[in-house]
Symmetry: D2
Subunit: 329 residues, 4 copies
C-alpha cells in the first residue's frame, strides 16, 4: 500500500484524491493546504489526516507526495520532498524558470527519488493509443505531426497576467505532446500569435491565438495551433503522418447521438473542458505513478521531460517576441 | 458499336440517353415517344433519329432497345422487341402482374434475346461493393440484412392511386436488394404498414410507412423499412451482418463539409433524390448492359429477377392486407 | 443518507456496490449472499456489514434493498422486502412468469414501497439522450424505431438452457427499449429466429439470431434484430425515425483513434461487452433510484414496466414457436 | 454558344474537352497540339477542327482559348491570345517567373480580355462550400486555417527537376487556397521542408515533405503541410477556425461502405488522385469560365491571383533555402 500525501487540495488536488481512491494499491494518507476548508473536506472524503505541508513531507507515514500547489511553491516543495526521500508526483509546469528546474533535477537526482511530471495528456487513452501504435511501427517512421488544441473560452485576464503567457501556460501541453509523438528532439522553433479572441489579453501582453512549427534533426515536422476559444467544446486533436500511413485521435464528443433533419446530420459538441475530457487520463497517470513507485519501474514523463517542455515554451515565447526562428542546442 | 433505340423519352429515358453518350461502345441510334417534343429534344442532343416505336423495334439499324415507357406498355413492347430479336433493357417493374411477366419470360426465352431488368440500385458503387465483398467472403455467411429506404417526400395522391401500392411501387427496389444480398430466396414474407405521413394516402387505400421481414430456408433474416418521408434527404442504407462481421453502406451526403458550433458537429443532408443519388448507378447499369450484349456475357439482373421481386411485392401486399405471414413456394 | 442492503454479491452486485460508493447520498449498509467469500469481499470494500438475507431485509438500518440474486429468488425477496417496507431496486427480469410478476405488483402496491426494475439501458447517456429529445419534440411524432443488439459471442449452452430463451433473456432489453422509444404500447408482435451461430444452441431448443416486428395502435413500427455474435464488439444501436427527422445512437468505440493506410480508414472495435459499455448507465440508474427514494419522486422504470417487457418477451417466444403474428390485448 | 479553342491536348486538355462537352452554352471549336495524335483524337471526340496554335488563336471562329500546354509556352500564348482579343483560361502556374506574369498582366489588361487562372480546387464542391459559408458569416471572422495536402506517391525525379520545386509545383495550390480562405493577404511566410520520402528528391535539391506558416496583417494564421506520399489516397483536407466555430472539408473516400470486424470499423481509402478527386471541380471551373465570359461577369480567380500565388511560392522557397521568415510587401 502506497501512502500518499497530497500537497494542495484545490481543484487538481481533489482530482488526484479521487483517482487515488480508485487505485487498489494506494491511499491518501495525509493532505495539506494553505486553507483549512478544502483540506478538511478532502480529508473527510478520503479518510486522510490534515497536516502542515512541512510535517506531511517529514511524516514517516507518507511514502510519496503529490504536488498540486501554485507553481511558485513547487521549487521548495520538490527540494524538501527529495531531501525527505519521498517519491514525487508534480503538476506541470515544474517551475516557470528552466534554470530553477535544473536545480530541482539536481536535488531529485541527488536524492534518487522517483519523479513524475504530470503531463496528463500522455495518459489520455486515445493519445496513448496513437503513441503506442507509432512505437509499434504501424505507420513507420514519423514525418509530420499536427496538433490542434483549443480551449472552449478564454480565462480571465487576471489569470493571463500571472500565467507566463500562452506558450508556457497552454501550449506547453502540446509541446510535450509533440516530443511524445515526434520521437526526436526539436532543433528549431518558430512561433506566431495574435490576440483575436479578447483584446484585453492583447493589452495584457499575451496572445490568445497561436501557432508553432517545430523541426527535428532528421527533418520531421510538427505544427501546433492553439486558441483560447472554441464554440464547439474543448478541441483536442492529434494527427501523425508516417511513411506507411496516418494515425489520428479525434475529439471526444458528449455522446454518440446524431440527429438528421433538413439542415443535415448533427452530432453533439466535444466534451466541454479538461476535467471531463481528461478524466480517464488523470486516473491513468496516477495509476502509472503508483504502479511504477511500488514496483520500482521507471516513472515517465520524468523531470527532464518537464525541463524540455519548458525550454520549448521559452523558445516559442522568444520566437514570437522576436519574429524569428529559434535554434535549439 | 451497339446501336440502341430508346423507347420513351421522359425523365428516365433522358437519363439513359446521357449514360449511353458516355459509353465508348454504344450510341443512341433512334428514339420514340408518344409525344413529339421530348423525342425531338433527345434526338438533337444525341444525334439519334426520331421514329415510331414499332418502326424503331423493326429497324435493322437498332441492335437493342431501352424500354422506359409507362409500365402498362412494357408487355407489348417486350413481345415485339423479342420477336424482332433485339436485346432488351427494361425499366422496373417489368409488369404489374406476375403472370404477365411469366408470359414475357416465355417470349424472351423463345427469342433467345438478352434481357435486363433495370434494378439500378444493384449498380450503385456502394451497394455493389457490399455485395461483391459478401461474395468474396469478407463477412462469411450472411445472417441478417437490414435495409432502410425512405423518400424525401411523398408523391401526389394521383400517383399513388395508379402505383400498385407502396410494396409494389417503392419497396420492390428493396425486395430486389434483399435477394441480391441474402444470397438465398425468401420463403416467408411478413409486412406491416400505416399511413403516418399523409392521411390522403391512407384514404387512397395505400400506406406511406411500412416494414417487411423476410426469412430464407436456412434461417437468414432480412428487415426492410420504408417511409415516404425523410426530412434529411433520400435515405438509402443497407447493412449486412455475417458470421465474421458486418458490412454497411451509409447515405451519400451532399458534400464532405462539417461545421462545428455550440450546437455540435453538423454535416450536410443526404443527396436529395434518386436522380442525384443513383447517378453513378444509372451509368453503371447501362455500361453493364452494353458490355454484356456486345461481349455475349450474361445480363444480370435478368427477367426472372424482375418476376421474383414482383412475387415478393405481391406477397408483402397480401401479408399487409391479411395481417398474416405469407409462405412462398 | 440512504442505507442500502445488497442482496447478491456476484458480478452485478459488485457493480451496484461501486455505483453506490460514488453517490453522495447513499451507502452500502449491509450485504448478503449465499456464499461467504463474495459477501465478505464486498463488505470490506464498502464498509458494509455481512448479514443473512432475511436479517438484512428486517434490519432497521436498511432503507432500501438491491436485489441482484438469481431470478428464481426474486419473488420471495420482493415479497419480504415489500412487507418490511423497504424501497426495492430489482434486477431484470422481475420473474420469468408474468403471473408471478402480477403477484409481486400486488405486494408492492399493498406495501406502497418504491420499486425500480433495473432496465439499465434506459440510463445509457446516449439512449437516454435520444429518448429525451423525442420527448422534447425534436423529431416530431415517432414513426419507425430500429434496434440492433448483438452480443460479442454466445454464452455457454448450459446458460442458454436455463435462460428462458433468447427472447426472454436477451431481447427483453430491446423490448423494453422499444416501449421506451415508441411512446405507445405494442399491439402486435411477430418474431422470427434461427440458430446460425452455434448449432448447440439450436439443439437446446433456442435461437441465436432473431428479429421482431412490433406495431402500435396508431401504426408506429419497431424492428429489432438480435444476434449472439458480433466480431466487432458489443453492437448496441438504436434509431428512431419521426415526422421531422431521425435520431440515432451509434456504438461506443474503444477509443477515437483512426488509422489510415492503403486498406482505408480504420477505427477501433466497439466496447467489448455490457460491463464496459453500460458502465455509465449502471451508475446513472442507481443515482436515479437513490435520488427518487430520498426525494420521494416517482421511480422509473417501475414494476409494471418489468411486467410489460415480460409479456412482450412471452409473446415473441410464442410468435416464433407458432410462426404467426400475436395480437396483444 | 461560346466557341473554345483548346491549346494543348494532353491529359489536362482532354479533361477540359470533356467538361466543355457537358456545358450547354459552349463547344470545342478547335484544338491544337505539338503532336498530331492527341489533337486528332480530341477533335474526333468533340467534333472540333485540328489547327496550328497560331491559326487557332487568330481564327474568327474561336471566342476563347484554353491554355493547357507546358508552362514555358504560356507567356507567348497569353500575349498572342490577348492581342487577338480572346478570352483566356490558363492552367496554373501562369508562369514560373513572377516578373513574366506581371508582363502577362499588362498584356491582358491592355487587351481588356477576361482571364482565368485555373486554380481548380476553388471549384471543388466541398472547398467551395467552405468558402461560401465563411463569406456568409457562419463562423464569423477567420482566425486559423489548416490545410493538409498529400499526393499518394512521389513523381519521378525527372519531373521534380523541372518542376520549380515542391513549393512552386505542389504547394502553390495550397497557397492559393490559403488566400481563398483567409480573406486577407499574407504578410509573412515561413517554410520548412525535408526529403523523407525519396532520397533521390533530396539529391535533386528538392523536398518531399514540407510545412508553411502564413500570417496576415490582422493576425490570422494559416498552416499548410505537404507530403509527396500518402498510403491512404490523395489527402486533401481544409479546416477553418473562426470566432463562432469551425468549418472543415474531409477527404472524399472511394465509397461509403464500412466493414466491421474484430479489427474494428474500416472505410475505403480516399479517392486516388486529382483526376478522380477533382473531377467535379474541373467541370465547375469550366462552367464558371463559360458563364462569366458569355454573361460578361467577372472571371475569378484572375491573373493577379496567379501572380500572388507565385509570389507566395517564391517566398516559401526562399524561406526554406535561408531558414528565415520572409516578410511580404
Amino acid at each position: 500500500m502506497l501512502n500518499i500525501g497530497l500537497l494542495g487540495c484545490g481543484r487538481i488536488g481533489q482530482v488526484h484524491g479521487r483517482s487515488i481512491s480508485q487505485i487498489a494499491g494506494a491511499r491518501v494518507a495525509a493532505v495539506a493546504d494553505a486553507f483549512e476548508a478544502p483540506a478538511k473536506a478532502l480529508a473527510e472524503k478520503t479518510g486522510a489526516q490534515v497536516m502542515e505541508a512541512a510535517a506531511l513531507i517529514a511524516s514517516a507515514e507518507v511514502d510519496a507526495v503529490v504536488i498540486g500547489t501554485p507553481t511558485d511553491t513547487h521549487y521548495d516543495l520538490i527540494h524538501a520532498a527529495a531531501a525527505a526521500g519521498k517519491a514525487i508526483f508534480c503538476e506541470k509546469p515544474v517551475d516557470m524558470s528552466a534554470d530553477r528546474i535544473r536545480d530541482c533535477i539536481k536535488a531529485v537526482e541527488a536524492a534518487g527519488v522517483p519523479f513524475m511530471t504530470a503531463f496528463n495528456r500522455r495518459f489520455d487513452p486515445n493519445f496513448a493509443n496513437v503513441q503506442a501504435r507509432i512505437a509499434a511501427g504501424e505507420i513507420g517512421a514519423v514525418e509530420i505531426v499536427t496538433i490542434q488544441s483549443r480551449d472552449p473560452s478564454p480565462p480571465p485576464v487576471s489569470y493571463i497576467q500571472s500565467s507566463g503567457g500562452l506558450f508556457r501556460d497552454m501550449m506547453i501541453h502540446d509541446l510535450d505532446m509533440a516530443r511524445f509523438l515526434l520521437g526526436e528532439e526539436p532543433v528549431s522553433v518558430y512561433a506566431v500569435g495574435a490576440s483575436l479572441v479578447d483584446p484585453e489579453i492583447g493589452r495584457a501582453g499575451d496572445v490568445d491565438t497561436a501557432a508553432v512549427t517545430l523541426t527535428t534533426q532528421s527533418g520531421r515536422i510538427c505544427q501546433i495551433t492553439n486558441s483560447r476559444r472554441a464554440s464547439y467544446g474543448y478541441d483536442q486533436r492529434i494527427e501523425v503522418h508516417g511513411e506507411k500511413g496516418m494515425l489520428r485521435a479525434e475529439n471526444v464528443l458528449e455522446n454518440t447521438v446524431e440527429i438528421a433533419t433538413a439542415s443535415g446530420f448533427r452530432k453533439a459538441p466535444a466534451q466541454h473542458f479538461f476535467l471531463e475530457r481528461y478524466d480517464a487520463a488523470y486516473r491513468a497517470e496516477m495509476a502509472h505513478f503508483v504502479d511504477a513507485v511500488i514496483n520500482q519501474r521507471p516513472v515517465t514523463p520524468g523531470i527532464t521531460d518537464g525541463l524540455r517542455a519548458q525550454i520549448l515554451a521559452d523558445a516559442a515565447t522568444l520566437s514570437f517576441e522576436k519574429g524569428t526562428v529559434i535554434a535549439l542546442g
